[in-house]
Symmetry: C2
């Protein structure tokens, strides 16, 4: 409402407003899943619906930003869970996050499926997300294989991709049937992948099988 422009002020304010909108969208999706309405999100921030489009030109753009935040928070959560910083230790925590935040999980599954269509606006986002996650997880598995914590009779890149696949697949199974204890299945899966599952390791600590 004023024409005075302090250096950096408007930029900072704009960044804050964007953050408010994103946080409101995250909470709305957490509560209502992909059905969260733009009106609800605008109301939470106290702006008009058209004002949202200044920061996020389309509904899809806003929802993808929510998923990105979910990925970031998911990593922090895994670190904070005391499970350590390794992906494989975070598998169980990740399945718990799914069952505790079904709205976000639902958004992820639906957008990811729609984005398999190369014509989808989110196609590139998901392609890059999976590539990035696979690369990061592979490096992590490699480190754990060197440390003797993960079996190394299969390539790290394969272990990483099957780990991401199990997470995606269990998430879908749980949404179709919430009585399935996907955290327990994730625990079985991590045991199968860890060196301890392999008796031969006891004899040769740094190079099993």
């Amino acid at each position: 409402m004023t024409n005075q422009r302090k250096p950096r002020g408007p930029y900072r304010k704009s960044a804050e407003r964007r953050e408010q909108i994103l946080q409101a969208a995250y909470e709305a999706v957490d509560e209502h899943g992909e059905r969260a309405s733009l009106q609800d999100i605008a109301d939470r921030v106290g702006v008009t619906q058209p004002a949202l489009t200044y920061y996020f030109p389309t509904r899809d753009a806003l929802l993808l930003a929510v998923l990105e935040r979910r990925d970031v928070l998911g990593k922090e959560l895994a670190k904070d869970s005391g499970a350590g910083t390794h992906t494989i230790d975070a598998v169980v925590a990740t399945t718990r996050h799914t069952t505790e935040h079904p709205g976000l999980a639902k958004l992820y599954v639906t957008l990811s499926a729609a984005a398999t269509d190369p014509a989808s606006p989110a196609h590139r986002y998901f392609a890059e997300r999976y590539r990035g996650l696979a690369a990061e997880t592979t490096r992590d598995v490699e480190a754990q294989q060197r440390a003797g914590a993960v079996r190394d009779d299969e390539p790290a890149a394969h272990v990483a991709r099957m780990l991401l696949a199990v997470l995606d697949g269990l998430q879908i199974q749980w949404m179709h049937d919430p009585s399935v204890d996907i955290a327990a299945i994730a625990e079985s899966f991590t045991r199968v992948l860890t060196a301890a599952a392999d008796p031969a390791r006891e004899a040769t600590p740094d190079r099993p099988v």
Copy 2:
């Protein structure tokens, strides 16, 4: 065009027509994915679009029937592949089916994601499909654990569910990035689950790697 009704004749004809429509829908989805149009399907059979609705009242009903056929053919294919009748041996063949029939895989992923919403007309279909598949796969894994072919240090029900999860998850990864060799990852996964991956089992001679 005639009022003469031979006993069983109309029923047989109706079943044949239904089968023709389903087969045409299967082929159309195989070629065009979920975008396959009802007009295209009607044209392949040589009937009008409204005639389709006599056999399949909604587009969703027809598409779910296509997925059901995909499941049935998938099982036959696994048997014919020489991989044997065991689910775990069929994992690699199943991933190959995915990459060779992307249209069908895409339909499956999209409908399955949409059906996670309990309000979706396909919700019950998928819930039952997963429950049925999980039960069947669990029985199969149990039998293979007894035979010493699959490691038995984790519950069969967990192994079955993680197997289904890996298949779903790899399918999604491949659709986001077709350069990923999901058959090779599936091979790694089956090795991790088979007794042969565990040196302590080498004593069981009837089950080579």
